[in-house]
Symmetry: C2
Subunit: 261 residues, 2 copies
Amino acid sequence: MEKITSKDNRWVKEYAKLASLKSYRSQSGRFALEGVKLVCEAFQSGIRLPVVLVTGKCLERSGTDLAQAMEWGEWFLIPEELESKLTQQISPQGIYAIGEKLDKILLPDTIKKSGKYVMLCGLQDAGNVGTIIRTAEALGLNGVIATAGTCDFYNPKVLRGSMGSVFRMPCCIVGEEGRFLTELSAAGVQTCASVVDPGAIPIGEAVFRDPCVLLIGNEGNGLSLRTSVLCEQCVTIHMKGKTESLNASMAACILLWEMTK
Amino acid sequence: MEKITSKDNRWVKEYAKLASLKSYRSQSGRFALEGVKLVCEAFQSGIRLPVVLVTGKCLERSGTDLAQAMEWGEWFLIPEELESKLTQQISPQGIYAIGEKLDKILLPDTIKKSGKYVMLCGLQDAGNVGTIIRTAEALGLNGVIATAGTCDFYNPKVLRGSMGSVFRMPCCIVGEEGRFLTELSAAGVQTCASVVDPGAIPIGEAVFRDPCVLLIGNEGNGLSLRTSVLCEQCVTIHMKGKTESLNASMAACILLWEMTK
């Protein structure tokens, strides 16, 4: 295995750029992923990993788990001192891969036919986005839609929070929310806005058709009125305690649970 | 307002010790909390704040929000350079308070009478513990029980994740799990173990009595068999996708939702 020792090596710089810049991920069609489990999940999901940087310690510990993935792509040995250029983790696992985004784009035509989908409208917290994708997969949803203003699916924190679900769930990014929702409605897709409003339908009483898209709003402001009026129904979770509201991923969890059960 | 400039000041050291040491929090009955919102929530919940360290910038920005709390306790002005001794936040808000734990201990006698409770058995992730307490409050539970091995309620990350719910929810810590569960059962309290087991009762079909305690296990290993056999029933969430399981706080969210609705 070839060694890399310089922090100016092209792959070290390429990895760091992919880890930090959404625009570069978008332009290159590649992304950065770290950790043994995530690398294995990506490989098993059919993601191509053209370049992998790994420490000797990681190979010693996890060589068996990585054996299959090692048959593909170029692997480079890096010293532990280089890791600080690659990760913000306090206890990194010593493996950094460049992956090629999978072409598993969810098409409006698929959504119009059948299935249950969640649509993330402007969510900013990468941890929330990752957790919601993971929950959506666990509960059997058919795909995840995000507005352009939502945190990137290939953001390192989203990947980590989703535990690899990003690699498996069909997903798409929507430019113009309004036009997209109008198009869905015209095709008979049920659209449900989740809102904090005592006048909305309590989620336990809502009836979901198929196909159906549930919209979740931004952490701070929720869905805009402009967006929610375009939806067929507004649903809500009635709160009993003093907390202002559940956090976005907990609320999403309850909504998706009721939608799919 | 008196000024503190030295990192060796007794309150700076006291705060740092309370923020980092569970044993010291336990021994002193005090804890460390940071951020404008959390300080206000604590004050409104009746928590005494004998010492508060604050930067000039924080006072300028949030003086109005803090006005009521400022009538109590000793407030000290600190320079921004001192903040690195007090916080691990990347963008700290400049306010650090020492609080006195509230005496709102949940007694076994209260649990035996009525209510719905969640019991955290060995949870290690402070973010999960905080989120579960917040969710428990939002869904109207009557209290949170934790085993001695569970992450401390007054851990700074738990406080942050709970958004102040820790200050309001009745809670208690249980030394011997087995004896506690046996005692509850003998008193007619329903105990429900949440497990990953296709043979357990699907959570949507479970019947919950009052009083009732739902047990949630450790992130990695779940509940021990020794614990779950002591419970009246075992409940589970049936997973549809490929994710191994929901994360602990998402699973707890669905379980508590079904338990309280």
